[in-house]
């Protein structure tokens, strides 16, 4: 096949999962769990294959192509197609999404098998894979879109999947409603971001006259000089969208709660792919952002502050998935900071490696959680929270494979050479050191915290001796779960090759989309410094948490030296409480005020008041209608007399 034929395959990356999910919906589990799982996984895998074919085609024709399926909306000047864009950036994202996605699908076959049994609703197995395929389709739509509106479809679509999958066990969680509430929170917070994106789209349409990427981007320099205000507004509203989808400050609050979803969901959606959509959006809109320094600065600082902020919170968490959630927020902060600074390749590089190691960490955490659950069952111990790290410990011996893969993921996250995370994060930090001193130092501190919480987590989960019966009886997971772990571990370990200093494969690959950007440097001093910082962080983490195991009820060892700062970390710096106080409570009160005193009390009462006024008047007139025929006759004659009087007096 020639390249154009290969490019024409692009829509199939979306269509294949859609077809698969329709089949699963229709047969709705009648063919058993295996069928549903394998069908969904092979759909993801097929998408991956198509992505590879597209990548091969791009190898020979790096300029890519646009494949249109037909018109979507065409009114007046507004013309939007269902068009798929094949270029190096989008195909790279496709590869990541479908690649990691396939692994997580496979992992889910076994994981969900156990999960539906534990939660007592076997029928929901198929539903899970339907949602997962829907997610793959939406995410593929997002990354392969050729215009902003179609991207928005994917953008909201992934938000929907996130909502559905967070609330997958909608009758579970605290009070039975916590999971559903978490899903709602995620969707609404995302919608606030989407509001920003939508307004940005309006601005783009009215200032550029089109929503199609190429047209918009080619006009970007002109518009930015002619209407700097509009351009700045576009970037800032987009940033709002980014903060919503990528869980950046101030809209990060939904992601930790999103951990209510099954672990593969956390891995795929809330770590590897969906949350990086914001980074992709900025990278995709690079031609606009690069024209608006103000917007870039805003993006950079949002990312930078989030990176540090979330890293500190991660340190104070005891829930194995919450730690990873805040870690994700923090790592995306790095990427956002990078795209803000214009280091698009570095950001993409980190996006890829992050997908590997964070996906790995989540999957491994899932393996740990199920292992503890199995242990709980085997030991007939009392109900414990299987995600509470204080109940674990010593799992290194019981779960060797999980431990080693987790270790590789953790070290990669802590940016220890020569693992993938080291190279990608170093590229960001190095770029910052050359361009933004303040950003550089803050990212460095965040990196230290990262290492610290990784050390803390590994120590609490795997080292020492079991702190609960359940942990003592935990057993290693099945190969369906461990094989994806191993594959991801390999990727997390050697993913750095992609953009290894000196080789810069990714950079040359993406140059076709971004144009020639400043080549990334490898600064030895920065690299060694941050490596040292990472090692020190890990060591401190191990020193504190490896030697004195934390138990339920006992204060955290960091509590004493850090005091109220640690209280803040533990309580997520009270952001949820502040939002509750500042936004949610007033909103509820206002809504109640509208619903009660205003709507029923005033508007409705005015209407009813008119009615009762009429009734009162009628009541007065009604006195004449006394039911006595002769009275009526009297009034008639009175009228007659009046008329005659009129004729006399006339």
């Amino acid at each position: 096949m020639n390249t154009s034929q290969l490019f024409a395959l692009a829509p199939w990356v979306v269509l294949i999962p859609v077809i698969a999910l329709l089949i699963n919906l229709i047969v709705s589990g009648r063919l058993g769990e295996k069928f549903a799982g394998i069908l969904a996984s092979s759909a993801a895998a097929l998408s991956f294959v198509v992505s590879i074919l597209l990548a091969i085609a791009l190898g020979s024709d790096p300029m890519g192509s646009t494949i249109s399926l037909g018109t979507w909306i065409n009114i007046g000047n507004l013309s939007i197609d269902w068009a798929f864009r094949v270029d190096t950036l989008s195909v790279m994202m496709m590869l990541v999404v479908s690649g990691v996605g396939t692994l997580i699908h496979i992992y889910s076959i076994a994981y969900m098998h156990a999960d539906v049994r534990l939660n007592g609703d076997l029928k929901r197995y198929t539903r899970f894979f339907v949602f997962m395929n829907l997610f793959i389709a939406s995410m593929m739509l997002l990354v392969s879109a050729d215009n902003f509106l179609m991207m928005f479809v994917g953008w909201e679509g992934v938000g929907l999947c996130s909502y559905l999958l967070i609330g997958f066990w909608f009758e579970k969680g605290k009070d039975g409603t916590a999971n559903a509430a978490a899903g709602k929170k995620a969707f609404i917070t995302n919608r606030i971001g989407d509001f920003g994106f939508l307004v940005a789209i309006f601005l783009i349409y009215w200032n550029f006259g089109s929503l199609q990427f190429d047209k918009v981007f080619s006009m970007a320099p002109m518009v930015a000089t002619a209407m700097p205000g509009a351009a700045l507004a576009i970037t800032l509203f987009m940033l709002l969208g980014v903060t919503g989808k990528s869980a950046q400050l101030p809209l990060h609050v939904w992601l930790p709660d999103a951990m209510a979803g099954p672990t593969p969901v956390s891995a795929l959606i809330h770590a590897a792919t969906m949350v990086t959509a914001g980074v992709y959006l900025v990278a995709r809109s690079a031609p606009i952002f690069s024209q608006v320094p103000g917007g870039q600065t805003a993006v950079t600082w949002v990312g930078t502050i989030t990176a540090l902020f979330a890293a500190t919170i991660a340190l104070g968490q005891n829930d194995i998935k919450k730690v990873l959630a805040y870690s994700t927020i923090s790592q995306i902060g790095y990427m956002v900071a990078a795209v803000g600074m214009g280091a698009y390749v570095a950001a993409m590089f980190h996006l890829i490696t992050h997908a590997f190691f964070k996906g790995l960490l989540f999957l491994a955490a899932g393996s740990v959680i199920q292992a503890v659950e199995r242990g709980e069952e085997a030991a007939h111990s009392e109900e414990i929270d299987p995600q509470d790290m204080r109940q674990m410990g010593g799992l290194r011996k019981r779960l060797p494979l999980t431990f080693w893969t987790y270790l590789i993921g953790g070290l990669s996250l802590a940016a220890i050479a020569p693992l993938a995370g080291f190279f990608s994060k170093d590229e960001i930090v190095a770029y910052a050191s050359a361009n933004h001193a303040a950003v550089f130092w803050i990212l460095l501190i965040a990196a230290f915290f990262t290492a610290l919480y990784v050390g803390r987590q590994i120590s609490m989960v795997f080292l020492g001796s079991p702190r609960s019966k359940a942990a003592g009886h935990a057993t290693e997971s099945s190969p369906t779960i461990t094989v994806p772990l191993v594959i991801l571990a390999v990727l997390a370990a050697f993913g750095g090759v992609l953009n290894l200093p000196g080789l810069q494969w990714l950079e040359t690959w993406l140059a076709h989309t971004f144009g020639t950007v400043a080549p990334s440097q490898f600064v030895w001093l920065v690299a060694l410094g941050s490596l040292a910082l990472g090692l020190v962080g890990l060591a401190i983490g191990w020193l504190i948490y490896g030697r004195t195991p934390v138990k339920v009820g006992k204060p955290d060892p960091l509590k004493k030296p850090l005091g109220f700062i640690f209280t803040g970390m533990q309580n997520k710096w009270f952001v949820d409480e502040i939002y509750n106080f500042l936004i949610i409570t007033p909103f509820n009160a206002l809504a109640q005020f509208f619903a009660g005193p205003i709507d029923l009390g005033s508007i409705d009462r005015v209407a009813n008041g008119l009615a009762s006024g009429t009734q009162a008047v009628a009541g007065g007139i009604r006195k004449f209608e006394n039911g006595f025929v002769r009275s009526y006759a009297f009034w008639m004659l009175l009228g007659l007399a009046a008329i005659m009087t009129y004729f006399i007096l006339r």
């Binding site: 979507w72 909306i73 679509g157 039975g176 309006f202 508007i603």
Partner: protein
């Protein structure tokens, strides 16, 4: 007259054939009565598809006209003038589609006085179709008022506990508005050259101050019907008390009579007043969007919640109409249809649940998705369509309205659309709130555990709506092509008048 060439007469009055048959059926023959009504309404739908087949989308004018002189008033001819154009074709199809759906939904719900119910329902369909097809102001008014009577009885006889209060409120509110309209119609007709809309738009040259007064007279009637904030307080009561089929038609079609009225009368007849009033009407629309969304959020009764959501959705339509932009007006017309589909479907689902549990209180539900997976999934799709999820119908309408309003010259400021876009967030807030309280969470009531999932009939009722929800979401061009030329012509009338104003 050759009846074969007058499809509009057929489509308007065919339900009367069903009424005639039902009149001769014994009240005890419920099955026969239901089937007669269903087949009649299906035939009407078929006839409307015939109309669609004859309809030439490229022609912006009224087509397939029937024009028969009727009587004269003050020397002005009043005629029986029907016609269909891009502004009305979609609403015609929506009406004829929702009617059989609503009738099918009553199979189990209406057991009492089935005969009367079906007769009133078919009469209602005559009125509704007539409203959308009438091109003579007096004829329009007759159909407009005619819809009141069957609806009054549908709510008053088959409604819930407070039906009498609700139906009276509904009747009086709408009546008050339409009297003003009648005065306006007579004034325009007698003073400015006749009652025929097609000739009026081209010849009437009404001075600006008179236009303003007439705009208010007509506008109030339509605003009550829409309803525009703050004239909405009849709607929640009427919806809550109406039987399911009544709510479906009320939300799906009756409210559109108001927005359609703005489109058919206020915009083309009083273009200068429209331009002057546009920011204020749009502002009322936006207040409606935000206010109704917040009020909806605090409701305990599902039907009331959806009723308030209607006010919010129609706020979008009003914003779109008065942004006077090609994008926004087309979006608004499409959104009328979307709202009919999504809200209609929501009411159907609520009705299905009501048949099982006999309550609308959200406290009584929770976790129903676990018990009724199919209904939960369909309800989810419908809820999301109402919330404007891209890929479903609601988004296309809302997006076009907002993007058009954002750059609208008539409004003159992007703030209108910007603030209205907040409504998208609020829609998610109250709709997900509803979905969570009804379908998610644990099952808290014993009796909910044994609820049966949807029956085949119920699925058949919803499937046409679902197909359209996806169709409009993914390929709205099919429908937009029908309305584009008419909207273009309408806006050229308005903007020409706007030039004269400057």
């Amino acid at each position: 007259m050759n009846l074969g060439s007058t499809p509009l007469i057929w489509v308007t009055f065919f339900p009367l054939a069903g009424v005639l048959i039902i009149l001769f059926l014994k009240p005890e023959w419920k099955k026969a009565i239901r089937w007669t009504a269903l087949i009649t309404s299906l035939a009407v739908f078929g006839l409307s598809v015939w109309v669609l087949a004859l309809f030439n989308a490229a022609n912006p004018d009224a087509q397939l006209g029937v024009n028969q002189a009727w009587f004269t008033l003050g020397g002005n001819q009043i005629s029986f003038h029907l016609g269909v154009d891009g502004l009305s074709i979609l609403l015609l199809l929506l009406t004829t589609l929702l009617s059989p759906i609503a009738i099918l939904s009553t199979w189990k719900a209406i057991e009492e006085k089935v005969k009367g119910f079906m007769i009133f329902f078919l009469l209602l369909e005559v009125g509704l179709v007539g409203v959308f097809l009438a091109l003579d102001m007096v004829l329009f008014y007759i159909f407009w008022e005619f819809t009141l009577v069957p609806m009054y009885f549908l709510i008053g006889l088959w409604g819930a506990e407070r039906r009498i209060y609700a139906t009276l409120k509904f009747f009086l509110y709408t009546m008050a508005g339409s009297l003003l309209m009648l005065a306006g119609i007579l004034f325009v007709g007698l003073k400015y050259g006749g009652f025929d809309l097609t000739t009026l738009t081209s010849t009437a040259n009404i001075p600006l101050t008179v236009q303003m007064w007439l705009f208010v007279a007509f506008g109030l009637a339509f605003a009550i019907k829409v309803p525009v904030w703050p004239l909405h307080s009849w709607l929640p009561d009427a919806h809550t008390e109406a039987p399911t089929a009544g709510s479906v038609i009320l939300a799906g079609v009756l409210l559109k009579m108001g927005t359609y009225g703005f489109l058919r009368f206020n915009l083309p007849l009083f273009p200068q007043a429209t331009i002057q009033a546009a920011p204020y009407v749009a502002a009322l629309g936006i207040v409606g969007i935000l206010y109704a969304a917040m009020v909806a959020y605090r409701q305990q009764d599902v039907k009331r919640l959806v009723a308030y959501s209607s006010i919010a959705h129609l706020g979008f339509v009003m914003l779109g109409l008065f942004a006077l932009d090609q994008l926004s007006v087309e979006g608004a017309i499409l959104q009328m249809v979307n709202h009919g589909l999504s809200t209609g479907a929501l009411f159907l689902i609520i009705g299905f649940i009501y048949e099982r549990r006999h309550t609308h209180q959200m406290d009584a539900f929770g976790g129903l998705w676990k018990v009724m997976p199919v209904m939960g999934s369909l309800a989810l799709v419908v809820t999301l369509s109402s919330a404007g999820l891209p890929g479903l119908n609601g988004f296309v309408g809302e997006f076009n309205i907002l993007v058009g309003a954002f750059g609208s010259k008539a409004l003159g400021s992007p703030w209108f659309a910007g603030v209205a876009t907040l409504g998208v967030i609020l829609a998610a807030v109250y709709l997900l709130h509803m979905f969570q309280r009804v379908f998610l969470g644990p099952v808290t009531h014993e009796e909910n555990l044994k609820l049966k999932d949807m029956s085949l009939r119920e699925i058949i009722v919803l499937v046409p709506i679902l197909i359209l929800i996806f169709w409009i979401g993914i390929a709205p061009q099919t429908f937009l092509n029908l309305i584009a030329p008419a909207v273009e012509k309408l806006l050229s009338v308005v903007s020409a008048a706007g030039l004269a104003l400057v």
